[in-house]
Symmetry: C2
Subunit: 307 residues, 2 copies
């Protein structure tokens, strides 16, 4: 096993080897880290082994001797499970090790989990990510992090391997989560309104490929329009990021906004469309499936997938 020398790649554990987590593990391997990955599926574990890492079925197994553990699961409940549940990382993590939490969760959950970790002598870095699977694999994520200065110092090499930009947003957990929620509010609305616009374009008889070209060169463009609308143009709704992710994230935003007595009518309208897509059976499909709901509601036609 590689010895961890400060500032040089040592061992790092990655918990959760989905589209984001596996890409992040690849970036860490490329940077010279010894990566031990954990996932509930045997297939994901074998895939990591084939890529040059080691693997285990339980967080406890892979976190052993890892000065830094990166958690790439979906939400607060899963984060709590992999850290504090039976077989969780906390059972084997050394005093002073760092748990980097990249799930999108409410600021209150991030603060609560950080406090529990601290009781056990482990640093919790509240470090949500943005950028999608492609950037995860190329080590070009954006990371929105907050936590104790020592946590940043100890995980510097890991963060550099994963991200093009690491924002250090504050000295306590919760700030990273807050900034991520602002990002998710925008991202969730941008996908839904992109679907609203592209399906209207179809309804009024415009050529969708042309509309895509014009919009991406115009003031109506967004990162999400540019990234997601090719799925609609190809009629390919196989999931890169699912409808349920935004049911969750816009749900957290609605909860936060309600608790703050802050009206967020545009995010609320977008959430209804994700709920409709999930209710219609597309919860596990790509989030651009919202376009199919607009088509169903309006009689518009959208491109079929050519397989």
């Amino acid at each position: 096993m590689a010895t961890h020398v400060h500032g040089e790649p040592g061992k790092v554990a990655v918990i959760g080897l989905g589209s984001m987590g596996f890409g992040m593990a690849e970036s860490l391997l490329r940077a010279g880290f010894a990566v031990a990955g954990c996932d509930v599926t045997e297939q994901a574990r074998q895939r990591l082994q084939a890529a040059g890492g080691s693997s285990g079925a339980l967080p406890r197994e892979v976190a052993q001797d890892a000065p830094v553990v990166v958690s790439v699961v979906v939400n607060a409940a899963q984060t709590e499970q992999v850290l504090f549940g039976t077989g969780g990382a906390i059972e084997s993590m050394q005093q002073g090790a760092v748990f980097i939490s990249s799930a999108t969760m409410s600021p209150a959950d991030a603060e609560r989990l950080a406090a529990r970790a601290k009781e056990k002598g482990v640093f919790f870095l509240d470090a949500p990510i943005s950028g999608g699977a492609k950037r995860a694999a190329s080590g070009e994520l954006t990371i929105m992090a907050s936590g104790e200065p020592e946590a940043f110092e100890k995980s510097e090499a890991v963060l550099s391997a994963l991200a093009q930009k690491v924002y250090r947003l504050g000295d306590k957990a919760g700030v990273g989560a807050s900034v991520k929620m602002i990002n998710q509010l925008l991202a969730g609305v941008h996908i839904a309104v992109a679907c609203e616009a592209i399906t209207l374009a179809s309804k009024i008889g415009l050529d969708l490929a042309t509309v895509y070209d014009v919009i991406t060169a115009s003031a109506g463009n967004s990162w999400m329009f540019e990234n997601r609308m090719p799925h609609v143009l190809d009629g390919d709704y196989s999931p890169l990021s699912s409808v349920e992710i935004f049911v969750k994230d816009l749900g957290i935003i609605q909860d936060m906004a309600r608790s703050e007595r802050y009206p967020a009518p545009i995010a609320a309208a977008a959430l209804q469309m994700y709920l409709a897509a999930a209710g219609a059976g597309m919860g596990k499909d790509d989030d651009s499936s919202v376009a199919r709901i607009y088509a169903q509601l309006s009689g518009a036609t959208l491109p079929e997938h050519k397989s």
Copy 2:
């Protein structure tokens, strides 16, 4: 007066010398055109003269002998007025001259005006623009144009001087307007949701300059977030593009969508926020004023302008 040689800069008339029109006139002057500009205000006309152009108070005066007339007014009613009203351009335009209409209007209005122009022997190019005042002045607009092939041919040099990209979307008026409305749906929602998000960020205690940095490097970014939110950060709501523009454009979209039996709930929610801003007395202020409505509704504080 400069003689128009095909493909070389000759005379061009610009009707409407506001923030967009004046910038476009500057781009045409820089490209070597003899620019005759028209505006209702004496100040705008003098400004163009100081920049090297000539001017007149009536469209008829400046359109005289101009093979190409560029109209940069706000809506269909103004376009109809400058073309067909008393003292309108049609009174002096030569047979076969081209009227380039850059106002955002409904596809139905664009078709109707094009048909009226054709009766008088004048080409109507349905050519809405995108890009803002800065790009108008640098000749880097996006133009979404449709119309008869001869109209494109005759106005090629003018379009090149104005735009980085000219999309040729079809052979009849109305297609340019349709694509522009799709762009405006997105642009209008993106500004409003940017205001929803940045004011929520303030409400939960985040540093807004940091949020701006993170979002513009993340998947939540949009052209409009990046362009408009500095106004909110500076507390400067002096108008570059006003709230009333999106009251108009999202209104046209709602009319189009209703007529098509197409539900557009996200655009509808955004329109309510522009209506609130206009109703609260901010109709002529910058469209980022929607943030001040969110602040009023939620008790959030936003940066004050440092004058």
